[in-house]
Symmetry: C2
Subunit: 386 residues, 2 copies
């Protein structure tokens, strides 16, 4: 397989962009990535874009061709990938595959979602398109409800307290203070989480990622093409796995099996253990999700994530900082989040992050679609693989 | 690049399946393909599925994981690809790429769409998600309207008559008589087309492909894995290209530039000229689309397609039969159509088609998304490439 490097990154501000459309956002992040890589549009050979639900959010399918047109990239091939909130990570995986297959040398992998400007729908029911329509959405379940079920089961099984659960958003809000793209810049504490509005017991408002407009783009190059770029960050491994869409079809809802499969494969491909990873971006759509992520990627044994949180091991300055940009808590434009995570990992490995981890050689991104029916884990490294 | 072969095919009956859901249809076509290939589910390493708009049609995104679950394929990676009516063709292209990259040896490429069982939407506005939402859909344009504009411009420029335009559906209904999956089994004539209801002048009801539920699946194998299969049909070339989403942004609406780019690339990769192709499936969502397809893939010079139709050269028994299964006129489950076309080409090359072309060594499939913003052209051959 040919090696692949990330040679450019771009991300819009995350938030409510009432003055910008979906096409504006995707073009903005694309232009930032081209500038960062110092490549011209005419050198881009293909475009892959992750988007979950523009069809429902803004009435627009066929988004890849639109993004290519808007960026002046026609007639290059343009492909949209979708697996709910893991859509961006899928676009990244397919972009890498196209380089490994020898189809292309320089490609764009992007993600975009416009979630605030709704036409005849609401965000909650649109997001439930990620769950099982026949058995979950139609019964009135919401995503906060699904993750609340997982949180309750986990708390009962492993004795995680309400206070320990709150340590996740407290950390991520703290990290977000140094992220210029973050949707919020506000420190919170455990008491504030506990006093925020109840959404789906035990999850409260501050346990939930926000509704976000945003886009992120990375530029990928083959090993031959990467030689001319000054700051290549190498793709060392990618794992992707699937599981049942509906939560009730899983044997145990206190862990995410697909994430464990994906992490195992990605680390195996990278040829390293989790102990070598210096920084990770994980899918914290709800507080409980970050806890499940620790255990899926192997940072903690099942039920032991609370130790990492209580000891601040995943806070900047700790042993293995997680979500150094604040994670999805600081903005979750669903189809873009998988790419946004990679932007932060690349910044860390380059040494350009807002909350810089010292001596960052390896980073990991962990993206989840729905309640865990799709997971993608990717490993990045400073050194070119052998 | 590793070689890829199609080793199994399956297609549901196309039509109104009031008693079957989207998941039922995808599983049915998958089971047929597994049986045809004589492989077991546990040998499938990845799944790619094309679907245009299940989010709006039935409230379900995240379809690839659902299809994998329903077929008992978890935890394999499952990816949905979307580019409107070319979604199936995109899933096929990404599935091939994953084999060429060395990721996998045996993968499924499928397409599925459930268009009749609508929840809070209508098919016409949902299908306009393939066009430009800001500049076409929001102004009230429909897809019949867009293709009507193209038809009018073409008729004026090249002197195509209403009667000549009708020869496309007359031929395709004739071909459909021998297609067991066809949504309709009824011969029509030019007069019947001319007397059918006006949809968007000059296009009448019988110029339009129907609203269809259906799914199609093919199984792909690497050259090493293909050795054990008895009837491999080889992928010889794939071309994909993009163009502007909105019709008003194109220099000329009497041809589809992306289809020309895609066809050129696919034939170049196959190392053959269009003259070698014995059968083609082209995207005839409206009568005019088949005419534009002839010219895009090089069967006729611009403006000369009427000669092919008047001389019955594209009818079974003619020089280069096109849409021998009746094309999309016999059923257009939008996200599945790109795979359904490949099913027919594979049957032709195997010698198993309803309207069999004699001595069929090479076949071509041509798939269009929207009014031509995405096009994928693929070439298949009986002989393994060198």
């Amino acid at each position: 397989m040919r090696k692949v490097a990330v040679v450019g990154i771009g991300c819009t501000k995350l938030g409510e962009h009432w003055e910008k459309s979906l096409r504006d956002l995707s073009t903005e992040s694309g232009a930032l990535a081209l500038k960062d890589a110092q490549v011209e549009g005419k050198e881009i050979e293909a475009l892959f874009i992750g988007n979950m639900s523009a069809g429902r959010f803004v009435g627009q399918e066929h988004l890849a061709a639109l993004a290519a047109e808007q960026a002046g990239l026609n007639p290059i091939p343009a492909t949209r990938c979708e697996a709910a909130c893991a859509s961006g990570a899928l676009a990244f995986a397919r972009a890498c595959s196209s380089i490994q297959a020898g189809e292309h040398d320089i490609v764009v992998a992007a993600g975009a979602e416009k979630m605030t400007d709704l036409k005849g729908t609401d965000a909650i029911s649109t997001l439930m398109g990620a769950g099982d329509q026949e058995w979950e959405s139609s019964m009135g379940l919401t995503f906060a409800g699904l993750y609340a079920l997982m949180a309750r089961a986990y708390m009962k099984k492993y004795g995680l307290t309400r206070e320990e659960l709150a340590l996740v958003p407290v950390k991520n809000h703290h990290h977000g203070m140094n992220n210029p793209y973050a949707q919020f810049h506000m420190e919170i504490d455990v008491e504030k989480v506990k006093r925020s509005s109840m959404i789906a017991d035990p999850l409260r408002l501050l346990d939930c990622s926000p509704i976000t407009d945003g886009a992120a783009t990375i530029i990928l190059a083959s090993e031959e093409a990467a030689k001319r770029f000054k700051n290549p960050v190498w793709v060392r491994g990618i794992g992707q796995a699937s599981d049942t869409l509906a939560l009730h079809n899983r044997a145990d809802i206190t862990y995410i099996a697909a994430a464990e499969h994906a992490a195992k494969k990605a680390l195996q491909q990278a040829g390293i253990g989790i102990g070598k990873i210096n920084v990770a971006e994980v899918h914290d759509c709800f507080s409980i999700a970050e806890i499940l992520a620790y255990e899926a990627i192997g940072l903690a044994e099942r039920g032991k994530s609370k130790d990492l949180l209580n000891n601040k091991e995943t806070t900047i300055g700790g042993r293995i900082p997680v979500n150094t940009d604040g994670g999805l808590k600081m903005g979750h434009p669903v189809g873009a989040s998988g790419i946004k995570q990679i932007v932060e990992i690349v910044k860390q490995i380059r040494g350009e992050a807002g909350n810089q981890v010292k001596g960052c050689d390896y980073g990991l991104a962990h993206s989840v679609g729905g309640s865990g029916a799709t997971c993608v884990v990717s490993v990045f490294g400073k050194e070119e693989p052998e």
